[in-house]
């Protein structure tokens, strides 16, 4: 339950000493109630006041950390159900599944594919972040531990899918330093699993036959003192998994039910085993709706390109415009005689276009004018990319620095050609292709 400013005020020393940076205890209390400052900013709070306040003002969903070093990921900590209310804070992380029931060749092949996906998109490194190592009982403990060891050597954060406390203990012995997740507690084994997870100091994954059973098991684990949990939404059916993912998040964030205030794990590799296309559909669904870790069988380039793009979009900060500075960007060692191309200052557009220009190997100058941080067509429709804006930018900032008088404009605003030429005497305006990917061939043909 959120507390009001008055309720918080009653617990302050009411001395108005200003040590917290606020003029009065009352002003301070109001800020705490709004979430603008943390209660710890007042150094004079009594122990018991702090204890009762921190429980009451704790965020609805816990922030759980897994992995170490570069592979440390923060899960959960969300405060809203929709991204237009406030930025989502912790990205969905994707794991590729391995199972000790697979034959060695299949395991080797899968592990070999993991490093293949590794690239940058708008300043973010995209790669397979986690491995989910499933325990197949019939294959036995030794094979599982050996697989965990091998997976650990791949340098990705691990999730161990194992319901047997003894086997889990043996597996953790070889990988616990990497802070993996141990996913395998349920109503039948939670006490033993809790002991194993606590001893190794790792996050415990919990599941249940239905939401009620899961709820009770989480409550029981909390009673044992474990609040370092992840909730596995289960594999009974796609419908149940989706219902669980949504209701867990909604109970925590909207209804302030802290028992469900944990990140979730969705195993689409199991929900749609052997059907990679359905897994593609589901990983996208669970990125939109509340999966903190999503496990899939395959994450090659075909999956990664749309998926990481989607995630990057969904988890952006709506308050922070993604803009680049207007100016002249020389590419591939361009000089004043190299051909000019123009585009807008929207970061996504800049990264896509400059990437293609680099790939072409052709020296050229990319001219970025101020278009309010909007995409080509959006800026054009909003009147922020026009023949006037381009001409003004070129006369004021380009003409004295660049000698070449050839300007390529985006194909999507081909209509601007005539007007720009009229406003820029001496320049030849060339309509480029519609999509940046076609620029490589276009520039090479132009040169040749």
């Amino acid at each position: 339950m959120a507390l009001s400013g008055i309720q918080i005020f009653k617990m302050t020393p009411k001395t108005n000493c200003k040590d917290c940076g606020s003029p009065t205890c009352m002003a301070f209390s109001m800020k705490v109630a709004q979430g603008a400052v943390d209660i710890s900013a007042c150094p004079h709070m009594s122990e018991e006041a702090l204890a009762s306040l921190s429980e009451a003002t704790a965020p609805p969903m816990k922030t759980i950390k897994v992995g170490t070093g570069d592979g440390e990921y923060t899960l959960g900590g969300e405060t809203v159900l929709y991204r237009h209310e406030k930025t989502y804070v912790s990205k969905t992380r994707y794991a590729v599944s391995l199972c000790s029931g697979m034959d060695d060749a299949a395991i080797e092949a899968k592990l070999a594919e993991i490093p293949a996906v590794d690239y940058e998109r708008i300043g973010e490194r995209m790669y397979v972040e986690m491995l989910y190592v499933n325990y197949a009982e019939e294959a036995g403990q030794d094979k599982y531990v050996a697989l965990v060891e091998k997976a650990n050597a791949a340098g990705r954060t691990l999730v161990l899918g194992c319901k047997d406390p003894e086997v889990a203990k043996a597996a953790l012995a070889v990988c616990k330093d990497g802070k993996p997740v141990l996913n395998g507690a349920d109503a039948s084994n939670y006490e033993a699993m809790n002991a194993v997870a606590a001893e190794a100091g790792v996050v415990l994954g919990v599941t249940g036959a239905d939401l009620n059973e899961l709820y009770d098991t989480v409550a029981a684990l909390e009673k044992l003192g474990n609040k370092n949990l992840i909730l596995d939404v289960g594999c009974a059916s796609v419908k149940d998994a989706f219902a669980a993912a949504v209701q867990i998040r909604r109970a925590a964030v909207k209804d302030q039910d802290r028992t469900f205030g944990y990140p979730s794990l969705v195993n689409v590799a199991k929900l749609a085993q052997g059907d990679k296309y359905l897994q593609q559909a589901l990983v996208s669904l669970f990125t939109m709706k509340y999966g903190s870790i999503v496990v899939m069988e395959e994450l090659g380039y075909a999956e990664a390109l749309p998926l990481f793009g989607l995630r990057q979009n969904v988890f952006t900060d709506p308050q922070k415009p993604m803009k680049v500075e207007p100016g002249i960007y020389p590419i591939n060692g361009a000089d004043e005689n190299s051909v000019c191309l123009t585009t807008v200052d929207f970061a996504l557009t800049y990264f896509i276009v400059s990437g293609e220009l680099e790939r072409s190997g052709v020296p050229c100058n990319l001219l970025i004018s101020d278009a309010g941080g909007l995409s080509v067509l959006t800026a054009w429709a909003a009147g922020k990319l026009s023949s006037t804006s381009v001409a003004k930018f070129i006369t004021e900032q380009v003409e004295d620095k660049i000698k070449c008088r050839k300007l390529v404009i985006p194909g999507k605003v081909a209509v601007l050609k005539g007007d720009i030429e009229a406003k820029l005497p001496g320049w030849e305006v060339i309509v480029g292709p519609l999509e940046a990917v076609q620029l490589v061939k276009f520039l090479k043909d132009m040169q040749g």
Binding site: A243, Y277, Q280
Partner: protein
Amino acid sequence: MPFNQKPQKFNATINTVEIGCGEKAIKLGGESVFPFYTFDGPIDNAPKVGVEISDLGLGDAVPGLKEFYGDAATPAEMAKKAEAMEGADFICLRLEGGDPNGENKSVEELVAVAKEVADAVTCPLVVEGCKNVEKDADLLAKVADALQGKNVLLLSAREENYKAVGAAAGLAYNQKVGAESAVDINLAKQLNVVTTQLGVKAESIVMNVGTAAAGYGYEYVVSTMDRIKAAALSQDDAMLQMPIITPVADETWNVKESMASEDDMPEWGSKEERGIAMEIMTASADLAAGSNAVILKHPQSVATISKMIKELV
């Protein structure tokens, strides 16, 4: 203490819009819950999947598509195959060739194509113009006239031509009107307001609120749809209760991930697989955000998205 389940019950409902005739007619909308939230209340009309074909044929489509359509040479022949595609609920015929900056086919020629296609199939039909607002005003009005009695959905009436398209489709010829706006809740609402002011019944309107491919400004799509469904259901905003249709294929097959050749991007692997994944993931995200129908191209995407919908509803 068991989990205290608190369903989100709304007293408002998304309008039900029927497209097509006879046994294969489909209903879009009709639910009082958020997308796929069957745990809050029933979803009687599951979201639908359409197959896009064009008067221009296949162009330089990926091999899987060429193989699927085989020797189908005319749009009507393609439509017959598309209708039989696994998971297909309706067909969307795009009259791209009308674009004055492209092939600039005449309105008469395109109306004839629409008629042939409509006569060749029994499934519901959506007809999309060439995106040039002036040409579409004329073209879509004539298509609406020619296909009377077929109960087709015309895409789209936009801010610039809703009077012509809306009056013909929604008033004169009793078809369904697609209202297209640019990824913005206020624009979507405004267009519905002026279209209903023309006299078009709210129950005859399906919205296309815009989309992008995953990774291409898609956050605006998510938030626009999230906010529309919230306003429609929790604030009972009658001007946002129209079901949503989203042409996905047109966005996803034109981005780099689906277009770059294997020679250019050897490490990226099969171009067709990239295109399919982009189409599937974008469609799935659209449905999660609130689309009541998606329009796709590849048989694999159509089958997959249809399967996902069946699993969820």
